[in-house]
């Protein structure tokens, strides 16, 4: 088995004003080598907290309550800070939504890249500089020599995100965590950045954990999808299973809410109510109060993430009603 990352029953809480907020609850999923997995959910669903947990970048007021994050068999939670730091950036790269925040504003692009390269490889400045230009070419920047001499503010948003990807890929990593990497970009550029990530996955065997709110992006590049709601995994499976045969009422509602598939003039499927207050989680399913199919049991007992009925061994759903579909 080529398991690269395996998250098991991860629960994370935040304390704020003497209150405890359970931001992640028993989150489990895995990513194999060279695989692009989409983590989908709306704001507050816990997708970014999951990423920060893996990277060891959670804020001070966060506590990992339970669970483990195995990376190549080592639990990252128990790993020392130093060891995690060297893993981060070298084997695990990251790309965030706003490229400007990841770049040093007063340093030329080439120098930034060279610095990162020298951090992970024992090469001369001259060689690092050459590798920097090379890595810009690899993310399809047309004039890499010229761009290497520029400052971040001189580049467009799409170019900057390419530079950030080049930075993240320079080590090169085995796992790339990309949190809404294309959300701030125009569609035509989004398309190119996604193609680029796909290329990296295929040619370099980099696994990508792609965090997005956009199901269209998922359908374009992901092999598997993890759907999150209120800090829990509610459904996971291959992209085809989850997007074409969704079993969880939340996944169905999310797809139904997209204008992509709606007839003009017909109302979009809306989800009544609001996501639950994470300070006061309902004892049963977190989606039950908004679910049109909720049964009495849904309000009392929490469902487990279990295999959905059918032929598949990859499609899991956490729903009392959804297992039988």
């Amino acid at each position: 088995m080529n398991m690269l990352l395996e998250i098991k029953n991860l629960s994370v809480s935040f304390s704020s004003m003497q209150e405890k907020i359970l931001a992640l609850r028993n989150v489990s999923f895995s990513i194999q080598k060279g695989e692009i997995v989409g983590i989908v959910g709306e704001s507050g669903s816990g997708k970014s907290v999951t990423a920060l947990s893996i990277l060891g970048l959670l804020e001070k007021n966060a506590t990992i309550e339970s669970g483990s994050i195995f990376y190549k068999g080592t639990d990252l939670i128990t790993l020392e800070r130093k060891a995690l730091q060297s893993l981060r950036g070298k084997e695990i790269g990251m790309v965030f939504q706003e490229p400007m925040t990841a770049l040093h504003p007063t340093m030329r692009i080439g120098a930034q890249l060279a610095e990162v390269i020298r951090r992970h490889r024992r090469v001369s400045w001259r060689e690092a500089r050459r590798l920097a230009v090379e890595s810009l070419a690899e993310v399809h920047i047309r004039d890499p020599e010229l761009v290497a001499r520029k400052y971040p503010f001189e580049l467009s948003g799409g170019m900057r995100q390419r530079v950030v990807i080049a930075l993240a890929m320079s080590s090169p990593p085995e796992l790339l965590i990309a949190d809404e990497p294309t959300t701030a970009l125009d569609v035509t550029i989004q398309h190119e950045i996604l193609k680029l990530m796909q290329e990296l996955a295929i040619h370099r065997g980099t696994a990508v954990m792609l965090i997005t709110h956009d199901l269209g992006v998922v359908s374009q590049v992901c092999r598997r999808v993890v759907v999150m709601y209120a800090g829990e995994v509610v459904e996971t499976g291959t992209t085809d299973e989850v997007l074409r045969h969704p079993r969880h009422p939340y996944t169905r509602a999310l797809i139904g809410a997209l204008p992509d598939l709606a007839e003009p003039g017909q109302p979009l499927m809306a989800i009544p109510g609001d996501p639950p207050d994470l300070r006061r989680r309902p004892p049963g399913c977190a989606f039950a109060p908004r679910c049109s199919r909720a049964l009495p049991v849904c309000f009392e007992d929490h469902p487990l993430l279990e295999l959905a009925a059918g032929e598949s061994f990859t499609h899991y759903v956490s729903c009392w009603g959804g297992k039988t579909g």
Partner: protein, 264 residues
């Protein structure tokens, strides 16, 4: 049929010292009463500048804009027909609502532009109560500040603010681009209902093609300040003729072409 809004060869050039920047070039289109017209383009295409010129926020440097047959601009002077006739809803309700004002003040502020008698009539407590109920807010919300609301609720506040003067024409500039998908669905549904109930005409500015396809009757595609294609939304999505429109459509994620089983 006589169009409600008609743009003829509108251009906008920004100048700063010797620098010149042509933001909009020879843009022409017309919108019929009751229509939703979509303006789509990427960042920097000039679509929001067109919206500003219609609202009177920026004078065009060439061309004419007619509203209900009468020119909106006399040189750099904006001639409004009736205060509150044209309104706008912006993309980000976080930055478009004054954080120090209570919701009631925010919603009723546009009334200040109206004549005394009309202001009193439109600002009546009963009318305000009905309007906020219609957009999905509660009376107790009126006394709160914008930061106490979610993104979707803030956009409902912005919609109520735009409708308080009973406009005929509303510019929607990326009204749902900052919202989650399920919240976007609620806001788009609300906008469709309000349009029917109040016989509104919309100019819907967006970079999101799925939203444009779903919301608009006709549309124009903008690239680098120019319109490259105009037509019915259904026709353009089925048979795009301009290469740029084709590029935009081919970049659209493919979810829309698949059949999905979503019945609940």
């Amino acid at each position: 049929m006589k169009p409600l809004l008609e743009l003829s060869e509108i251009s906008k050039e920004y100048r700063k010292g010797r620098q010149r920047f042509q933001a909009v070039t020879d843009v022409s289109f017309s919108i019929a009463r009751g229509e939703t017209f979509g303006l789509i383009g990427e960042s920097g295409s000039g679509k929001s500048t067109v919206g500003k010129m219609i609202l009177g926020l920026e004078p065009p440097t060439a061309g004419t804009i007619r509203y209900d047959g009468k020119p909106l601009w006399n040189g750099t002077r904006f001639s409004r027909l009736r205060p509150g006739e044209l309104q706008i809803v912006f993309q980000d309700p976080q930055s478009s609502l004054d954080p120090r004002m209570r919701v009631e003040q925010i919603i009723t502020e546009p009334l200040l532009a109206l004549p005394e008698a009309e202001r009193r009539e439109k600002g009546s407590a009963e009318r305000l109560r009905q309007l906020i109920a219609r957009v999905g807010l509660k009376p107790e919300h009126l006394n709160r500040f914008p930061h106490e609301f979610s993104g979707g609720q803030r956009q409902r506040i912005a919609i109520a603010r735009a409708l308080i003067t009973d406009p005929s024409f509303v510019v929607l500039d990326e009204p749902t681009s900052a919202l989650d998908v399920s919240v976007q669905a609620n806001v788009l549904n609300l906008l469709q209902e309000l349009k029917r109930e109040r016989n509104l005409t919309y100019l819907f500015i967006s970079h999101n093609m799925s939203v444009i396809r779903y919301m608009c009757d006709r549309m124009a595609v903008m690239q680098k300040g120019r319109i490259v294609e105009t037509g019915s939304a259904a026709e353009i999505f089925a048979r795009p003729t301009h290469p740029y429109t084709r590029t935009l459509l081919s970049s659209l994620p493919i979810l829309s072409t698949k059949k999905v089983d979503t019945h609940v």
